[in-house]
Amino acid sequence: MKKQILLGNEAIVWAALEAGVNFVSTYPGTPASEIGNLFYKISKNYGVYFEFSANEKVALEAAIGASFSDLKCLVAMKSFGLNVCSDSLLPLCYTGTKGPMVIVVGDDPSCWSSAQSEENTRGYAYLAHIPILEPSDPCEAKEFTKLAFEISEKFKIPVIVRTTTRVAHQRMPVIIEPERISKKLKKTGEFVKDPKRFAATSFYVLEMKEKLLEKIERIRKFAEKSSLNKVFYLKKEGGKKNYNKVGVITSSVSYLYLKEALEELKIELPILKLGFFYPLPENKIKSFIKNLKRVLVIEELEPFLEKEIKILAKEVNPEINIFGKDVLPVVGELKTEMVILAINKLLDKKIKVQKLLKNQNLKFEIPNRFPRFCPGCPHAMVLAAVKKIVPKETIFGGDIGCYMIAGFPPYSLQDYLLAMGSSLGVAHGIKKATNQKVIAFIGDSTFFHAGLPALINVVFNKSNPLIIVMDNGITAMTGHQPNPGEEVKIEEIIKACGIKNIKVIDPINIEEMEQTIKEFLQKEEVSVIISRRLCALLEKKRKKE
């Protein structure tokens, strides 16, 4: 047993190992990447199978196969990964699991490291009927992950542990017990045929759905008794002002901001801290709000909790005044400062907060420092060639990776950006809808992740964008994870699709790159340039080693 300072993500890894996980799959994405990174490093020591999968859908499906074969599984991804794998996630909730399965999903309120959207994974609870737990710090991340395995084992259902950037990338001392993890050999599972259980065919789906809803009600009863949903009543402490007719309901990292705010304000309030987002312990919530006059719901992003609580209040306390997104923002993450102001409104501005919040220096107006390419970055070489040679009116399709820097000055070569692989899918649509020229950029890992079906569609439905695959040999942005490029040659896939205009170029050969871009842009059929050169940061790292 030892106390070690861990990131939330690292705490989740130790929880899974202590719970006896056998099978782990992931696709890297901030803020969840360190889960895969740590497993990649240590899984062999503990007899755990680990893989970086080609995308989140196949990562989940791999774990489903392992779960159906009675292994204990963990899948990790960032918020958008859940969209990618949702097609398999929903039926998985119908079939249920055999070996327990925990899915860790990292949301990123304020989009610190996310393009695309400010996604709130909690919404999937309603879509999929999947239990969701929300830890607030690394200690809880460890505790909740272990409990998620227990719930999954007991109820035969996958369980989501939902973190946010401020939980996943928060560090604090956590107690771990490496000596108690058996250094066993890799476990071999067994798939025992049971099609009525594992095949969500149309004959069974409605029956399965009914059973799933019953299961959720059983889990709700479990949640009612669980210590993850905690009520903190007022302690009679000296010096602090007590309010007993007002209360706060909160979850996730917002709980920490609440505790901090109460310290600042030197007051105490009754608190209901929810570890379960779904299913909610409705009776616990009802008894908490029954005798209150006012309650404040503190949650980040969309007011899912607030809406649920408003419904419950109708039954037990229709007179109660419920505060939530009228005093807190829907967009962006919360901060202690915001919680202080919200509490002040809850208490009818009876406390003086101005002094607490005004003692700060004003902002200097200085321009933003955008991220930029590392010295020697091959992406920069490609973009420089494009910038020099290609007419300005060309449409430039962006995708997810370091090359999103193309959107910032001085390049400004990103006319649209949506999701993994969509540079190709959207390029095809523009080519069909207009007479304009389109260049779609895509990285190697993103190409394997979601670019392939779009490429096949371009060939099948015959359009002619110029696709530039920026192959730097690694999944770079999330910290250098290996990807299928180690085994599968991109040019061979492209040739197999019947694409004739294809060239592999080292971008250091500027002239060849410029000439090829110029030539390929005039082609009647789709053309592909694979710009191949190792990520400069990785090259530097490997030299040091």
């Binding site: 310290e263 200085i366 321009p367």
Partner: protein, 190 residues
Amino acid sequence: MVMKKDFNIIISGIGGQGLITLLQIISEAALMENFEVKTSELHGLSQRAGSVEVHIRFGKKIYSPLVMLGRADLILALEISEALKVFPYSNNETVFLINENFISFYGSLNEKEIKEKIKSIKNPKYLVSASKICADKLDAEVVSGVYLLGYAVYKKLIPLKPNSILNAMVKVIPQKYLELNQKAFELTKK
């Protein structure tokens, strides 16, 4: 140095300058001195030479990993314009320890303008040419953050003991680079 209820540090700089290593060293040292400690950091694309700020809080009881605006006790900036960027975390008493090092970027103000603004900060302020000193004396600009940490600890700008930091460095820094970092840390001792 008398320890108040908590001590709040903001480290600001540019992705790749080793901010997270500094965060790890300080938090391990705080744990060794039996403080509660919480930190927050950002990963991903911003690490590619973009602005980065990390938060470190330690003391008797710490809940939130984030430093409130106006509540930093120490701002350690590894670059001059990044010192300005995190200015709202300071109040009139916040101590600034700034690496006198300018890294320009597309659309940035020029060095002179930035320096004028730094000059206008009336707070307790230490401008140290850490990058230059480390490049000259150790041929390694990369350890300028650790040099500044040494500066902060020996000048008692952080309520942690030098020995705790040195022990934390053994834990955090790979063996291969340990000696270099120890040298950088001890440079200001003399």
